[in-house]
C-alpha cells in the first residue's frame, strides 16, 4: 500500500484544479454546446422544431449506452465468480473503481484525444468537452472540433456518454487477467493510463479519423473487436506477464494446477449480463435508429454468442471430457467478442461460422496460455485478445456486401479488406504492447505491482481492503453479544 502522502497530494491537486475551473463559473458561458445557435435545440415539447429522427437516434443511443454501462456489472461478476473468495472484495473493488476512474479521465482528456480533430495519430483539443460543437448537425452542416463523430446526428453529450462506456469496457478487461495478485492502487493508476493514453490514441486511429481509418481500404471495426477488446487484451497480456503467475498455479516441473473460482452462479450471472449489454454494444454502435442496421446487428450478435456457447460445450467435451461451465461461459463471450467487429457487414450464416470458430478457439486458447505459463484467472486473454483479433480478421473474410458495399474474401470481395484488417491488428497490437509495457513498468518502479507473498496467500481482501467478502462465520467477528 502506498503512503498517504500520495493521496494528500492528489487531493490537493484535485481541489486546485476544481477551484480554478469553478472560479471561472460566473463569467464563462455554459461550456457546451458552444455553437449551439447554429442548430436551435428543440425547446418545449410539441414545438414545431421537434425532429423525429433526432429524437429516435438519441433515444436509441442512450438506451444502448445504458446497456453497455451495465456490462460493468457483468465483468465484476464473471471475474469475481472465477476467482477465489479471499480475493472477492478486491476484484469487486477494482471493477467498481475502474469505471469511475475512466469517467473522470476520459472526460478530462481521453475523449479529446480520441475524437477531436488533430493529426492522424491523436486529437489535440476538446478537453472536458470544451470547444466548438454544433451537433446534432451532421455532414456539411456540422461545425466543430469532433468532426470524426459528425456522421451521427445526436447531441454531443449523447456521443460522449456512448463512447465513455466503451472506454470503461476496455479498461475493465485488464482487471480479470491481473486478478488475485495486483495491488489495488497500482491497478487504479493503470486504469487512468488506459483512459488517458492507451485506449484513446489507438482508438483515434480507427474511430477518430486517424490513419487506419483513412487508408485506401480503411480498416474497419464496427463496434470494437479491436478498439475495445483487443486493446484491453493486449494491455492485459502485458500486465499478466509482468506480474507473473499466482503462487501455486504452475509447479516447477511444469504442471498446471487448477485454481477453481469460488462461485459459478456469480460467473453465470455475469455472462448473461454481459450478453444483455452486448445488445447495446453492437446494435448501439450505429448511434442512430437505423432500423435495418440495428436489426441485422442484433441478430448477428445473438447468433454468434449462442453458437460460441454450443461450440465451446462440444470443444470442452471433446478436449477435456466434460462440458466445463466456465468454458461454456467463455465460449459465449468469445462469440460475442468475435462478432463485434463484423456484425454490421455479415449475414447470419457468417455469424454462425464466426461464432463457431470463436467458441472452439477460446477453449484451446485457455489451454495455450496455461502452457506458456501466462496466468489469466478468468480467461480474459482467450476471450478478448484472441477473439478480438479473430473477429477483426473475420470481417475481411465474411463481409457479405449487406451494407456500404463491404465485401470480404469469401464473398468475392478479394483480399484488400483482409489486408487492411491485418494491418490494423498489427498496428494496434504493436502500439498497445509497447505503451502499456511502459505504463506497467513505470507503475512497477514507483508503486510496485504485486502484493507481498503473505498477503497473496491470505487473500487481498484483508491485505488491501481490510474486509472480507463473506464474513459471516460466527467466530470471525469478535464483537460482543452479536450472534
Amino acid at each position: 500500500m502506498i503512503s498517504k502522502k500520495y493521496f494528500h497530494a492528489v487531493l490537493i491537486l484535485l481541489a486546485l484544479t476544481t477551484f480554478s475551473i469553478t472560479g471561472a463559473f460566473a463569467e464563462e458561458a455554459p461550456p457546451v454546446p458552444a455553437v449551439q445557435e447554429a442548430a436551435p435545440a428543440p425547446a418545449a415539447p410539441a414545438s414545431p422544431a421537434w425532429d423525429a429522427k433526432f429524437a429516435a437516434d438519441t433515444v436509441w443511443t442512450l438506451v444502448t449506452a445504458f446497456l453497455v454501462f451495465f456490462m460493468n456489472l457483468g465483468f465484476a461478476m464473471v471475474e469475481s465468480g472465477l476467482c477465489r473468495s479471499k480475493n472477492a472484495v478486491n476484484i469487486l473493488s477494482k471493477n467498481v473503481i475502474v469505471f469511475c476512474v475512466t469517467v473522470v479521465f476520459f472526460w478530462f482528456v481521453g475523449f479529446g484525444i480520441m475524437f477531436s480533430s488533430g493529426n492522424s495519430y491523436f486529437g489535440t483539443t476538446g478537453w472536458m468537452l470544451f470547444g466548438a460543437d454544433n451537433s446534432p448537425a451532421t455532414g456539411d452542416a456540422y461545425k466543430g472540433i469532433f468532426a470524426s463523430l459528425n456522421w451521427t446526428g445526436v447531441p454531443l453529450y449523447a456521443k460522449f456518454i456512448f463512447q465513455l462506456v466503451f472506454a470503461g469496457t476496455a479498461a475493465t478487461i485488464v482487471s480479470g487477467a491481473v486478478a488475485e495478485r495486483i495491488k489495488y492502487f497500482s491497478f487504479f493508476v493503470f486504469s487512468a493510463a488506459m483512459a488517458i493514453v492507451i485506449y484513446p490514441v489507438a482508438g483515434h486511429w480507427i474511430w477518430g479519423g486517424g490513419w487506419l481509418a483513412t487508408m485506401k481500404t480503411p480498416f474497419l471495426d464496427f463496434a470494437g473487436s479491436t478498439v475495445v477488446h483487443s486493446i484491453g487484451g493486449w494491455a492485459a497480456l502485458m500486465g499478466a506477464i509482468l506480474l507473473g503467475p499466482r503462487i501455486g498455479k504452475y509447479t516447477k516441473d511444469g504442471k498446471v494446477n487448477a485454481i477453481p473460482g469460488h462461485d459459478m452462479g456469480m460467473a453465470t450471472l455475469g455472462m448473461f449480463v454481459l450478453w444483455f449489454g452486448w445488445f447495446g454494444f453492437n446494435p448501439g454502435s450505429t448511434m442512430a435508429a437505423d432500423a435495418d442496421a440495428i436489426s441485422r446487428v442484433a441478430i448477428n450478435t445473438c447468433i454468434a454468442g449462442a453458437v460460441g456457447g454450443v461450440a465451446a460445450t462440444f470443444a470442452a467435451y471433446l478436449a477435456l471430457g466434460k462440458p466445463d461451465l466456465s468454458m461454456v461461459l467463455n465460449g459465449i463471450l468469445a462469440g460475442l467478442v468475435a462478432i463485434t467487429a463484423p456484425c454490421n457487414w455479415v449475414t447470419p450464416v457468417g455469424s454462425f461460422i464466426i461464432g463457431l470458430i470463436a467458441g472452439i478457439l477460446v477453449v484451446y486458447a485457455v489451454l495455450f496460455f496455461d502452457k506458456i505459463q501466462v496466468d489469466d484467472p478468468v480467461g480474459a486473454l482467450s476471450v478478448h485478445l484472441v477473439n478480438g483479433v479473430w473477429g477483426t480478421l473475420s470481417l475481411g473474410l465474411f463481409a457479405a456486401n449487406v451494407s456500404g458495399g463491404i465485401t470480404g474474401l469469401f464473398y468475392g470481395g478479394g483480399i484488400a479488406q483482409l489486408i487492411a484488417q491485418i494491418k490494423g491488428v498489427v498496428a494496434v497490437g504493436a502500439y498497445v504492447v509497447v505503451v502499456s509495457l511502459i505504463c506497467w513498468a513505470i507503475i512497477k518502479a514507483v508503486m510496485g505491482l504485486r502484493v507481498g507473498e503473505e498477503e497473496e496467500r491470505e487473500g487481498l481482501d484483508i491485505g488491501e481492503h481490510g474486509m472480507q467478502a463473506y464474513p459471516d462465520f460466527v467466530g470471525t467477528t469478535s464483537t460482543r453479544g452479536i450472534a
Binding site: V256, N257, A258, I259, P260, A319, L320, G321, K322, D324, S326, M327, V363, V366, L367, D370, G379
Partner: protein, 112 residues
C-alpha cells in the same frame, strides 16, 4: 464415560440419528469434515488443469455416553451407516474423564 466419534457418509446422517435416538442417545454433536482415506477421490479438470479432489465430504458425530451403552451405540452406528462400500467411515472410541452440563452444573453421568 466414553467418547464415540464416528466419521460417516453425509447422506446417512438422518438415519443414524434416528436409530441412535431409538437406543436412547439424547445428545449428538455433528460437524462437517473432509476425509482422506482408502476411498480415492477423483481427478477433476477445471479449465483444462487437473486437480485431485482427494478430500471427500464426510460428517463427524461426537457422542458421549456412559460406559455400559457404549458398545450398543457403536453397533447401532455400524449397522446403520454401513453401505458395504469403501468410504463408509470409522468409529473411534476413547475415554472421557468428566462431563458437565452448563445449564445445571451437573457432572458425570447426570450431565449426559
Amino acid at each position: 464415560m466414553k467418547k464415540i466419534e464416528a466419521i460417516i457418509k453425509p447422506f446417512k446422517l438422518d438415519e443414524v440419528k434416528d436409530e441412535l435416538n431409538k437406543v436412547g442417545v439424547q445428545g449428538i454433536t455433528v460437524s462437517e469434515v473432509k476425509g482422506f482415506g482408502r476411498q480415492k477421490g477423483h481427478t477433476e479438470l477445471y479449465r483444462g488443469a487437473e486437480y485431485v479432489v482427494d478430500f471427500l465430504p464426510k460428517v463427524k458425530l461426537e457422542i458421549i455416553v456412559t460406559d455400559d451403552v457404549a458398545e450398543k451405540v457403536v453397533q447401532t452406528i455400524m449397522n446403520t451407516a454401513k453401505t458395504g462400500r469403501i468410504g463408509d467411515g470409522k468409529i473411534f472410541v476413547s475415554n472421557l474423564e468428566d462431563a458437565i452440563r452448563i445449564r445445571t452444573g451437573e457432572r458425570g453421568k447426570d450431565a449426559i
